[in-house]
Amino acid sequence: MAKTYDYLFKLLLIGDSGVGKTCVLFRFSDDSFNNSFISTIGIDFKIRTIELDGKKIKLQIWDTAGQERFRTITTAYYRGAMGIILVYDITNERSFENIKNWIRNIEEHAASDVERMIIGNKCDIEERREVSRDRGEQLAIEYGTKFLETSAKANLNIDEAFFTLARDIKSKMEQNEMRAGGSVSNTGRVNVGGSGTQKKSFFSNWSCNLL
């Protein structure tokens, strides 16, 4: 059968246990569904299809399945990953501090040009917030990634997060293709620690009118 899509991106969710990675990807994991068969056995990965600029993109999205508890996230998990969503919980300071460790883990085990994004997830009520939005933004600037605050429970910004990451991977691939023509001088690699270039696209607020 002919290929029915233009791009296939493998995306990973990374972060401490309990930050809501699972509810970013798996929204029915909360208590009200605990008698459903699916929430009992859990979901390994999802395939989602989106459209960007007329291109059909298949996203294969993986959760760590709790492996992070045992620090066993290594090269095998990262293999083939083109995008990584780093998740912390805004009501959990420690999960925010650990983002730096996760980035180190990525640098050690993932492909050097993997696209990254930081998400501050609100698993709980706003009053329990420990990490300000500003600190999240600053961290993202420091690592040259995009940043979003999400609420998996309210389904706020979740789709935007996946769209944004997919869009970044796609433009990088197109840039790489263009570079064959020699017009693009940038290396296209993720510039760790180098902030400047990505600032402009921060919260560009493009609305996803494609969904």
């Binding site: 798996f26 929204r27 008698n35 459903s36 068969f37 699916i38 979901i43 390994d44 395939i47 298949k58």
Partner: protein, 147 residues
């Protein structure tokens, strides 16, 4: 009907041993002529003409809702599944972790299901039209146009 073996617990547990022989009577080369959507959230699970075979056999699928306080998985027999090997043939689908050696398919958006299963031997992905709705023609035309 399902094979005549006496192991009742789950027809799913029987590996489909010889693809050429035992499957030939129940597997037809046939694609899905409708686009199938989730019964709950209406998200497209698979577009029409994406599957490659039809499994005309009864298999047990777990009930989406399980009664509390029961120590086994409640299932119901379902007959007829569209099969496709390539997982990327799906628009929106989730793959569960393994439960008793079985992996299941769910809606990629709202996760209701199972809407199908993965054959552990052949790794074919089978979806049940019974656990999904058909996208009405008008809507299907709109989806096509939006491609």
């Amino acid at each position: 009907m399902s094979s005549s073996t006496n192991s009742q617990p789950s027809a799913l547990m029987q590996p489909s041993k010889s693809p050429t022989e035992s499957r030939s009577s129940v597997v037809k080369v046939e694609t899905n002529e409708s686009t199938y959507i989730c019964k709950i959230c209406q998200t497209v699970v698979i577009l029409k003409n994406m599957t490659t075979e039809y499994l005309d056999e009864e298999r047990d699928l777990p009930l989406p809702r399980q009664k509390k306080g029961i120590d086994h998985t409640q299932t119901e027999p379902i007959r007829g599944f569209f099969g496709v090997k390539d997982m990327f043939a799906f628009e929106n689908v989730g793959f569960t972790r393994s439960s008793e050696g079985k992996r299941y398919l769910v809606c990629g958006e709202c996760e209701q299901g199972p809407v199908g299963f993965v054959d552990p031997v052949t790794e074919m992905n089978y979806v049940s039209p019974e656990r999904l709705d058909v996208l009405p023609d008008v809507a299907a035309a709109a989806v096509e146009a939006g491609k």
